[in-house]
């Protein structure tokens, strides 16, 4: 890793970070495995695997399907629950020098509230509230796809939490401008766009959906233009709401595109699964770009508009 390049310093609202590279939740475990590959303090922040109130065994096999330029997954938020997370993972995270973000996923508004409230007082820098989860009280419709539910959930989470709050919404959120307005109005500090895109694969031998849960999440380069479009639109609607771009970002060039479209920070997901060194490589490459062009990344945010 090169020495720290101040031109990579990035700001997500009030949060100052050494660089804009953060792992996407679910592609980084809780950081320990990556620590054996490289010092994860080089990242702008670490983001733990999404945690739920109760332990979950996740979805049945198969869970992975590769498509041209993408990967579909049906992991189903497998995790050991918030109590285990606080006991086994938070102590590790607090030893890190870089920013510590925690992802929470609920299946009801109250679950989000309970999760956010239970993290009060812990030395973490942000909570990413994964409102692209299905709401079991609304027939499985994602929280972000219903304006009333989204507003109620974000309102209650904001009221109970003293953390820096990020709303992670689906790329397909419609209408996006209304969701952006709600996120801003409810006092959230940033929006993350987005999560995997809902997709389907058919097993033609068995003549059935490949995944037992039928619909799975598509990630990787296949969804990059969709994510980039969403970031562009969100920045157009409200350039004052800090944006985290996420979706198919594989290279430093991809990061630059997202920053120029309006993202301040980028989450790297699928690339971590293909190459565990993807994030430090991207940081080094961004550092070289900034030095060669005598420019800082902050100057580039939204510049393409």
């Amino acid at each position: 890793m090169d020495s720290i390049n101040t031109k990579l310093e990035s700001r997500l609202g009030s949060m100052v970070m050494s660089n804009p590279i953060v792992p996407a939740s679910g592609t980084f475990g809780n950081g320990k495995k990556f620590q054996s590959f490289y010092d994860i303090n080089v990242l702008g922040a670490v983001l733990s695997k999404s945690v739920t109130l109760e332990s979950r065994t996740g979805n049945p096999q198969p869970r992975i399907f590769e498509t041209p330029f993408g990967i579909m997954n049906s992991v189903g938020l497998e995790n050991k629950g918030i109590d285990w997370f606080k006991k086994e993972i938070l102590p590790f995270l607090t030893t890190l020098k870089t920013k510590k973000w925690v992802s929470i996923s609920g299946f009801t508004t109250q679950e989000f509230v309970d999760l956010a409230e239970s993290l009060n007082g812990f030395p973490i820098d942000a909570i990413e509230v994964n409102v692209s989860c299905p709401n079991i009280h609304a027939g499985g419709v994602q929280f972000c796809q219903n304006q009333n539910t989204l507003k109620e959930t974000l309102h209650k989470v904001r009221k109970c939490s003293n953390s820096f709050l990020i709303a992670k919404i689906a790329l397909e959120t419609n209408p996006l401008d209304e969701a952006i307005r709600i996120i801003s109005d409810e006092g959230f500090d940033a929006v993350c766009l987005g999560n995997t895109v809902r997709g389907l694969a058919i097993d033609v031998v068995n003549k059935k959906p490949f995944f037992k849960k039928t619909i799975a999440g598509l990630s990787g380069p296949a969804i990059k233009p969709i994510a980039l479009r969403a970031v562009w639109e969100a920045y157009s609607f409200n350039p004052n709401l800090p944006i985290i771009g996420c979706g198919g970002i594989m290279t430093s060039s991809d990061v630059l595109e997202f920053i120029m479209a309006g993202a301040s920070i980028c989450e790297i997901g699928t690339a971590n699964l293909i190459d565990p060194f993807a994030m430090p490589n991207i940081i080094n490459s961004l550092s070289a770009y900034c030095s060669q062009n005598a420019i800082s990344l902050r100057e580039l945010v939204g510049i393409a508009h």
């Binding site: 495995k33 869970r63 992991v75």
Partner: protein, 258 residues
Amino acid sequence: MIEKTNSTILSNEKLASSIYLLKLKLKEQVSEILPGQFIQLACTGNEVTLLKRPFSIMNAYNDTIDILYKVVGKGTLNLSQMKASRELELLIPCGNYFSTPTSSGVNLLIGGGVGIAPLFFLTKKFPDCHFDLWYGTSRKNERGPIDNWTGSNVKFHFHSDWNTVSNVEEFQGTILDAYKENSTLTPSKIYTCGPTIMMNKITENWKNKIPIEVSLEARMACGFGVCLGCSFKTTSGQKTVCSDGPVFNGETVVWESL
């Protein structure tokens, strides 16, 4: 410790119908490689692939590793078309490994298809142990010259599920059927690798009698335990094939979850 490194193809030989032997020369020295461990190999070619593919290690010596593979999808199709001197990126060594075989009795090895690979490595790593190796393939034409490469510490048996008799394909029974009909051995330990259903049946057959180690196969994304794409149920909770395994005590596996 898993390392990312580059390798050069020394040879990529077709042994039998859709079965290949790949020899890779590693560019850097890595941690000791043990039987049961696997590699995650980049198989980029004409067919678009993103993820690395997991392959059992058939042998490791000096800075060379042998990989036995069957063409089953895009990644292995790409691999089958690669020539010597091509460079391939890989993660090595991944996963856990088989326990040390017994030196006082006989170790029974049952391999289905390319599942023979890690069992073959076990016989090479422990030349002073005795092995009764049963190698089953679905078709006779998938048999390679593997029996010619086994050492004097191995008694080799071959069986194919289907054989051609009077120009007609006839079902001959599974490798487990063949073993039961033809062997009077009382093994001290059992190691198996191959199709999930085969390993399940083998575990059922010797459950509570003889220790059984199974090397599982699964679709994987990362190969080092972060994505949980290969997570399945065991009697002691969810485990990942790639990082907690691929080798497990067969009696702990909840087979329906694979």
